[in-house]
Symmetry: C2
Subunit: 129 residues, 2 copies
């Protein structure tokens, strides 16, 4: 398959596929005589996998590591499980931080409802923050 066909089959762009190759997520593509990249079917699987990994919030670097393992003949299951555990921890921390921020902003916002512009001290720039 040529790069454009792969892109169409996976709903991405040729730009993205070249970018993944350059980033090490995909191995350097075979070339046909004219210099065009020539892909086997499994590239489509890999691209779909990349999308699933992104849907799980993994970075391209993490996804690349998994693909490397698979390309080197290992089943990446254990590694993926470790990644998912870390990802859960990471998400929990992010959610906690965001909830704290939301609470802080809500408090500012509540104060804003009974604010009088006239009582606003210019030295503080804004009495609400």
């Amino acid at each position: 398959m040529r790069i454009g066909e792969v892109a169409a089959a996976t709903d991405t762009t040729t730009k993205t596929i070249r970018f993944y190759e350059q980033s090490g997520l995909l191995p350097a593509a075979e070339r046909s005589e004219n210099g065009y990249r020539s892909y086997a079917e499994d590239t489509v699987s890999k691209l779909r996998f990349i999308r699933r990994g992104q849907a799980a919030g993994l970075t391209l670097a993490q996804i690349g590591d998994i693909l490397q393992l698979r390309d080197n003949g290992y089943a990446p299951c254990a590694h993926v499980q470790k990644l998912l555990t870390r990802q859960l921890t990471h998400l929990d921390r992010q959610i906690t931080e965001l909830l704290a921020l939301r609470a802080a902003v809500a408090q500012f916002h509540a104060g804003a409802n009974n604010a009088d512009p006239a009582s606003c001290d210019p030295d503080r720039i804004c009495s609400l923050l």
Copy 2:
């Protein structure tokens, strides 16, 4: 005050202060004869305000708008209230998305516990995702 003193008083760096000036958050500083930036006291208030704005999750661009209003003689209260309302909406959306992602990842992770590497189809790269 010279830039280093302002930086020390607000626990930032001279680099950051020059960056804020360049970004339009702070007006172009007065210069003393030798070309050094020379600041009035109120710059310290502005920098502290910038920190409070960041603590509320506002971007520098949003904070800059507030400072502009104040510098033009307006009390930015109404504008800030609008910003805070939008910020709450934004945070709520982010939190919702993150919770959904967390749920999805948790499901993958649960599947990972009873995964058998041998049953892993290489074509799928990883059966957990």
